[in-house]
Point group: C2
Chain length 458, copies 2
Amino acid sequence: MPMQTQRIQNDSEMQSVLKKGHKGNQSEIRPSDCALRTTNPIRNIVDRLQVPDEHLRRKKLLSLALGDPTAYLNPPDELIQAVENKLVGDKQNSINAFGYPPATGYDVAKAAIATRANHYNHKLFQELEGEGVNAPQQYSKEDVILASGCSGSLDLAIKVLCSATDTILIPKPGFSLYRTISTSLNLDIHEYRLIPELSWEIDLVELERFISTGEKRISAWIINNPSNPCGSVYSLKHLEGISRLALKYNIPLISDEIYEDMTFTPHIYIPMSIVHKGPLITCSGLAKRFLVPGWRIGWMLIHDGYVEEEGKSTTMQQVRKGLVDLAGLILGPNSLIQVALYDIFSNVPPTFYQNINAYLHNNSLLCTKILSDIPGLRVIPPQGTLYLLVSILPHHFPNFKDDVEFCQALLGEELVSCLPGSIFGADGFIRIVFAAPEDVLREALMRLKSFAGRHFQG
Amino acid sequence: MPMQTQRIQNDSEMQSVLKKGHKGNQSEIRPSDCALRTTNPIRNIVDRLQVPDEHLRRKKLLSLALGDPTAYLNPPDELIQAVENKLVGDKQNSINAFGYPPATGYDVAKAAIATRANHYNHKLFQELEGEGVNAPQQYSKEDVILASGCSGSLDLAIKVLCSATDTILIPKPGFSLYRTISTSLNLDIHEYRLIPELSWEIDLVELERFISTGEKRISAWIINNPSNPCGSVYSLKHLEGISRLALKYNIPLISDEIYEDMTFTPHIYIPMSIVHKGPLITCSGLAKRFLVPGWRIGWMLIHDGYVEEEGKSTTMQQVRKGLVDLAGLILGPNSLIQVALYDIFSNVPPTFYQNINAYLHNNSLLCTKILSDIPGLRVIPPQGTLYLLVSILPHHFPNFKDDVEFCQALLGEELVSCLPGSIFGADGFIRIVFAAPEDVLREALMRLKSFAGRHFQG
């Protein structure tokens, strides 16, 4: 198929090209405004991070860049078994493993998700008693909507709450998809600041100043806990602060909790739903916890607002109806995995998660130890997930204009790939994924150390 | 979780409710404009088609309503086997069965789809030689984008071509999703007429009148062949007529071919891609042909325009880039099925499709025969798919205001469920799905016959 490479700069040029097209020669079909707005900030930067082939013959490329844990870790056997049982089981009984589920998902899958969340919340509530936490609301299957991955549930959540030109609050640093989705919907994005010195807690004072003086309709506030790329896990106290602010200004929260329970002692995963009394959509999925990100099984839990002491309730009745309508556009995730969900949750033993967390915790300690010893870098120790951010102190590395140049040179000289923090709004940082086995991690960090040593200026 | 049922009528009321909310009492979170626009025309009607429990004790409910073929038909064993092999195979080699594929899909899956399309087109070209068809363009993996079901690929195709307030051409009657997606994007919808007397061919004369006099930017034209709900399969001649009109006005085509190759002798499936020389996006997927609609594996094939004799080319370079960006929003379909796709296409024997087609053809003949004998109804014989439309001649059924009332009464009296044609823009018709086994079909149609006999007025 012949591909032409003509570039169209702007609308009027596009129109003239289109008109010319009618007379012969070449024309170009114009993409929609939405397509033109939707750009992926990662790709432009990653495209600049290429390794020449001759370098690859020198030594092995080591990647600390990929956020896909399945590069090193396998999903649990019980999950594979649960899906296989539904796949090859008696077709008469497992017919719905192949057929259309309802747009929001099978009841059996939604009930499994609600039950799992209730179970965790109830257990956590008992542990936290005495810290002033109220009994958690019980989720029912009506509060669950399945989606094509956690990305799909974030897309739905943002789309149902925010109209074009509304303001949305997203974290900086933060997962780049929040920006991509918001831009595609033509939203006005306000990036709120996370404070590295406070393990990436939100600067709530600055954020309240923005909210209280703003003229704009703020229709959603995204938080991400535990966080990619920060590796932070918020305390009960900090979550309460977030909740107070959201309640005060009646802003619905979207809590991205895809890294739920990937935390390192003494940090624990506290779902926003057991803290917050305002309207809340929690997004999660199988991707990280069960190590099957490619399966695209995500969901959201919907939580109306009710503040008993004030007799004040904020319902999401219309939002729920909107979610059902929007879910009808592409009809949820794979039915085979949906019907296996209950067994997956029931059969995977707690030791599986404990082992993964112990492995990641150990790796995070190794990273923190080695990185702390490298002059000119400053690591913020992660409290969970598989990510951490390292600050590159610019006056010590005058050879590099920014974190992108730093990563480019690191890749070229040492064949170690990391993503520049600027992809995530963390300018001057690099993001390290610590899911690789210890020996790979150690070798990669040693290369980083010798690279930094060569370029450091005291 | 307490659910409130207050209804919000309009924006100003919404604002007042929101303000009141701050002072206590109850407030409601307002959904986005997009969510408010996105409504599913099926649900409102289906909600009115309920059977009281006491009727269900009388006799068995027979459904000719469900478009899900897996209610009666099983997917091929070779497909199950191919997926099982990837699921339980050596984890070291099948790691990408779990991990993130690129947003547009794995290369191996895209290559499998391109090869399959090339193979069909090449074979068909040889059969059609002498009818003035040019050699088909060869698809490469760069021309393929995977999506979450054919619905997901339609959503992407429409979203990449059409900006808010652009005009889109959709068939009437037609699959209701075209309208739902277009409405969600705030497009201006023009429904073009299909002619029942000509086996639901497009009224190209009337359509050209609209296109040529319109002031609007028409950014896409959706065709559906073979068609749900019509059961029609277009001839080469008709496809050439469509192609000429699209070329003349330089309108990109979106061809929904999810029912590809589900045709009954002597009708054959002719992909638009071997007829059309203008820009074209073909949407399809595993759903119908492989009987796994719930797996949500869809794709599109992209085809630039090139008319040799005029030296005129219309590229979709920018559209392709836009598709990659938009695909990044929710990251394609399940990786497990993606990696099995090549084996699925290779291992399922042609007899599987032949048997399904023979089964459906036989059922369609049975339906046509029985329905033709019912006074007051007029059936348009299907040429493929699993659907047909029957016209209810209104002067013979004065008891019923419309097709919805007809279907309601049929359900209440005879416990036979069919969807009213008005769901698909076929007012005065009912849609019958003929995927059920012969005995079920026969029994259901006999009940329809006695129902029609009771209400017929000569």
